[in-house]
């Protein structure tokens, strides 16, 4: 039973690893800089492992989710600012996913875009309303595994493996103008941010509490987050490689989810294209639900409301109203005509700004031996935790200037 749980946990982590932001930035990183940004994927994966593990461990040991800690450690004012920023980023991310689902659905059916956006809202709301927490994770995570087709497509596109391996060494682009250097820095920050999106830790820690983890699950947490993230990062690496192999020579910038499906189709044919579309549909769907639930978790945990998918709406009315309202607002934002991929770019950049505020209280609690007792951070976790806190703070400081200097990453 435990083995099955670990296996399913890993599969759902892999299937849910990539969302529309990571897809867009990974493809474009490959298209613009070939393999030179692959090391950022490794860095981001280590970051999400370090902080995801801490979030899961704190949830298992102390039964405290992330926003409870943020309020406790950052105080009311700074905590409230973090809450507002985190939920605004969640709103933008959720809107981008809803728009992305409608675009993919349109590619599969040929139906009109706006009714599909409305249809997406209805289906997602029904899924959150009707499915138990575990099944939400499993349905979207397991069907999202079709994204593995991108790994096959990347291999089939025949990259020079020596150059791919060379991309894992931190580097600067060769013979680049200063404007290309700024763009490279922008893509490094954005790709890093897309991998360590803060909603992932909010959702993961809240999910651990929904699943009633105890101290006995600390090792389960470790295995799921490490293996799931490493395998998930292979998808991201594959997208960078595919971007380089299929889009770079033609200087194509991915502006639509269909570009990713087309790249997979060119590399592997008809069925790969269909699998890519299906994978994106479920991966974006999973991310939309995670962001909408994350916002409700954040609000409820910060203000001390009863929360959880396991609670009926009459037992946790504000929590259930909160996720519904966020999903509705995200849908309205997309129905206003805004381009989902443009929303992605802003959500990813602003997400990195909220990261230090999310990570700092987690690190303080996880390192506190009085609170965590035998489950407190060891010296490796502390060293990695502080290093990544410094790194995310630098990324947070650089994100907005880079967005301005590079005209939103356009050049």
């Amino acid at each position: 039973m435990k083995v099955l749980e670990i296996f399913l946990g890993i599969l759902t982590s892999v299937g849910g690893f990539v969302e529309i932001g990571e897809l867009t930035f990974a493809l474009n990183a490959g298209s613009k800089f070939d393999f030179a940004l692959l090391w950022v994927v490794v860095l981001g994966t280590v970051g999400i492992i370090v902080y995801g593990e801490m979030a899961g461990r704190i949830a298992a040991v102390r039964k405290q989710p992330v926003f409870h800690l943020i309020r406790e450690r950052d105080g009311l004012t700074a905590g409230l600012l973090t809450l507002i920023a985190a939920n605004l980023v969640n709103l933008l991310t959720c809107a981008a996913e809803v728009g992305g689902i409608a675009l993919v659905w349109q590619l599969m059916t040929g139906w009109a875009y706006r009714p599909l956006v409305a249809g997406t809202f209805v289906l997602l709301a029904l899924a959150v309303w009707l499915l138990p927490f575990k099944w939400i994770e499993r349905v979207f995570g397991l069907f999202g595994l079709s994204m593995v087709v991108f790994v096959a497509a990347a291999i089939a596109s025949g990259p020079q493996w020596q150059q791919v391996v060379g991309g894992f060494v931190p580097q600067l682009p060769k013979a680049a103008t200063s404007s290309e250097m700024w763009l490279y820095a922008y893509f490094a920050v954005a790709l890093f941010s897309s991998i360590v999106l803060p909603y992932e830790t909010y959702f993961y820690a809240s999910g651990a509490i929904e699943d009633r983890w105890t101290t006995k699950d600390v090792n389960l947490n470790r295995i799921i987050i490490i293996v799931g993230s490493v395998l998930g990062s292979l998808l991201c690496i594959a997208l960078v490689v595919l971007g380089s192999q299929q889009l770079s020579a033609r200087a194509i910038e991915a502006q639509l989810p269909g570009t990713a499906a087309l790249a997979a189709g060119v590399a592997l044919g008809h069925w790969a294209l269909i699998a890519a579309l299906l994978g994106m549909l479920f991966a974006f769907g999973g991310a939309a639900i995670e962001t909408t639930l994350s916002s409700a978790y954040n609000l409820a945990q910060f203000f001390g409301w009863p929360w959880g998918k396991f609670r009926k709406p009459r037992e946790a009315p504000r929590f259930h109203v909160a996720w519904f309202v966020l999903l509705l607002l995200s849908t309205l934002l997309i129905l206003s005509g805004i381009d989902p991929v443009e929303v992605v770019e802003y959500s990813i950049v602003f997400a990195v700004v909220t990261l230090p505020f999310t990570y700092f209280p987690m690190l303080v609690i996880a390192a506190d031996k009085r609170v965590m007792k035998g489950f407190a951070n060891g010296s490796l976790s502390n060293a990695l935790g502080w290093s990544f806190l410094v790194l995310t703070t630098i990324a947070a400081l650089a994100a907005i200037p880079l967005l301005l200097i590079t005209h939103g990453g356009r050049g």
Partner: protein, 155 residues
Amino acid sequence: MRKQGSSWGLWLATAISALIVLSGAYAEMTRRPANAQDELRIALQELRSQVEESGLLATHAKNGQPPREFVREHAHQLEKHMQTSVDDVRKKGDRAGRTEVGRDAAMRGEDALTSLRRLRSQPATAATLDAIASKMESSSRELSRLLSAVPQPRR
């Protein structure tokens, strides 16, 4: 415990927030005034990217037999983006004092749009798909030539 955590947590959070705001404000202040040449160059790059992708779609429609719905709808989604880029290059060409570049690029974009609409509207024969791909290729080449005429930025 809460009070102790709050005091230095608040201090650090405020310091980081202030630094983020200051770095954004500094970047905004020291940013060069909106450079019309840069804007034109970016618009040209985007249009060329869409033309190239349309060519790739036409070639794949011929060689890979993707689902008809996919070809039609991806062409439809690309068309909307391309229409915006065509309007952009025209406008930004005028603003950069390079009306001719903007006009020529828009003309190439309009040609590509016409081909994209053909790709969208009917199940095309292999010969038609070849013709569309080759039209896209020549439009892209011309856009690259126009792009090289716009000065590269130096920062």
